[in-house]
Subunit: 304 residues, 2 copies
């Protein structure tokens, strides 16, 4: 039943992260042909932005060691944007050499996570990103930046909103086009999300330049998404079938499942362009490849 709600957008762009953020955080290593099929099927289900892989060093993320091979295996398309994560200048070189037109960089709102994930202070990581964004822009690339730990940090606990805004302001000043607010550990709740988006707008980063990236670790992802939509955000990250694992339990989940998001959006009469049945069938197929059931509630509920 489709019943709109006042104050929400008519259309939402889903930024699909399953092939990169999802597969990167699964134990199983999927063959390149299956990854290519996954991406082709996601596009066939109507997803128009699909983060494809990462040019991080294979030592850190063996799951995505086949980045060049995967890009080579994908059919040419103008209809689908296929951003690739780029951690540094070496990654950018690889992206440019492989004809990538959209990239994403991965920043942290906290010192603790910057140290652990990037082995740098926040200042040092921004210094590392500056030439990446500058060169990418000079080459005409579209650049997204993730700001992770935006709602909390496992080592630091609460992350003050002004700290997130400060990092966000600095990365956007480098020249990025879109900022994805990442609640990396899934602890945020709707008031915090609304306050963050409001504070970013006051700092000159309006909701038209934002995306939200919620994890369902505490079950809050869709409620937070609803709050973000009300605050004017129209780009939402999600992972087909909810893939992306979880540090806690087999049945738990990291990323918001694209299907659960689509169910809510379509129920609200919001256009996504996604064919839910095709998408869920793709996620069931990938769950078979990963050897575990999909944590998506909708994928489970729609299963024959």
């Amino acid at each position: 039943m489709q019943v709109p709600l006042d104050g929400l957008p008519e259309r939402v762009t889903i930024y699909e992260v399953g092939p990169r953020d999802g597969l990167q955080n699964e134990k199983a290593i999927i063959p390149v042909a299956d990854k290519a099929e996954f991406i082709v099927r996601l596009a066939d289900a109507g997803l128009r932005t699909i983060e494809t892989t990462s040019f991080v060093h294979p030592k850190w993320v063996p799951q995505l060691a086949d980045a060049e091979e995967l890009i080579g295996a994908l059919p040419g398309t103008d209809a689908v944007r296929r951003p690739v994560l780029v951690p540094n200048e070496r990654g950018l070189d690889r992206a440019l050499a492989n004809g990538v037109t959209d990239i994403a960089i991965f920043a942290s709102a906290t010192e603790s996570f910057a140290r652990r994930n990037l082995n740098r202070t926040v200042d040092e990581s921004l210094a590392m990103f500056a030439p990446v964004v500058e060169r990418a822009r000079a080459e005409g690339l579209w650049v997204r930046v993730y700001v992770s730990m935006a709602c909390g940090d496992p080592w630091e606990g609460d992350v003050p909103i002004e700290q997130v805004v400060s990092v966000a302001r600095r990365v956007m000043d480098l020249g990025c086009s879109q900022l994805s607010l990442g609640d990396t550990i899934g602890v945020g709740t709707p008031g915090q999300v609304t306050a963050l988006i409001t504070a970013l707008a006051e700092a000159g980063i309006g909701p038209d330049r934002l995306a939200v990236h919620f994890h369902d670790t505490y079950g809050q992802a869709l409620a937070n998404t609803l709050a973000a939509l009300r605050a004017g955000v129209t780009v939402v990250d999600a992972s087909a079938g909810g893939i992306g694992g979880c540090p806690y339990a087999e049945s738990s989940t990291g990323n918001l499942a694209t299907e659960d998001l689509v169910w809510m959006l379509h129920g609200l009469g919001i256009e996504t362009g996604v064919d839910l049945e095709k998408l869920a069938a793709t996620s069931r197929w990938m769950a078979g490849r990963l050897g575990r059931p999909s944590p998506s509630r909708v994928v489970q509920a729609l299963s024959p």
Copy 2:
């Protein structure tokens, strides 16, 4: 991190349904001593309304065949309300004989579910409830009514809002004090929830007399709860640990997990009186009794 959101209540009453709606829908049959311990621990965790059991015929719900014995095993208390489900006059007799002061009856918004669950038409079921409510009120009991299939029906599909309002109006006219809107199959989305609550208010049933009862089958329960809170509802049904099973998959869930609800409410700075750690510990203990992991995301995330 606590960040309030405009337009939400300062305090929410959680109507805990785990011992009745939860255990009724689990395969395992729990010994009466464990049920009593479950209820005592839920109260110790701060829950102040706990639906305890059902006086339905044991042939239909063998899981709750020990209703009298359970009530006899519970300690006396004035601090906690312990409603019991009562399907008919025979059930009411048993409730009165056992000193029950709060009861709930279970109506359906659709003919299909009334037939399957109550073996009656909607009209016939209302005729059956009328003397139950009348006698209960005459005895000074508090009466809640569930209106199930309020957001969709597995046989009929969409359920028109005016049909839900019509049934709601008729059951409330019998003299019930509270109406719990049940999205029994979990298909509803926030716009539909808002429209339903608005339509009920226009029909004279304000949000102060409503509760909401969401199932997480499609992952929508918390987003729908957020919409209901915005529409003025302050009583929310939930099941500790998300117990209550699911027709689809082991890892899926029926009822909204109380812990997932509490996480959102406390994050929004909304008082519940609940101690989340104690509650999650209780749910982990019950999951052990049921022989399967809790489907609550928060219980999983907080597990040591």
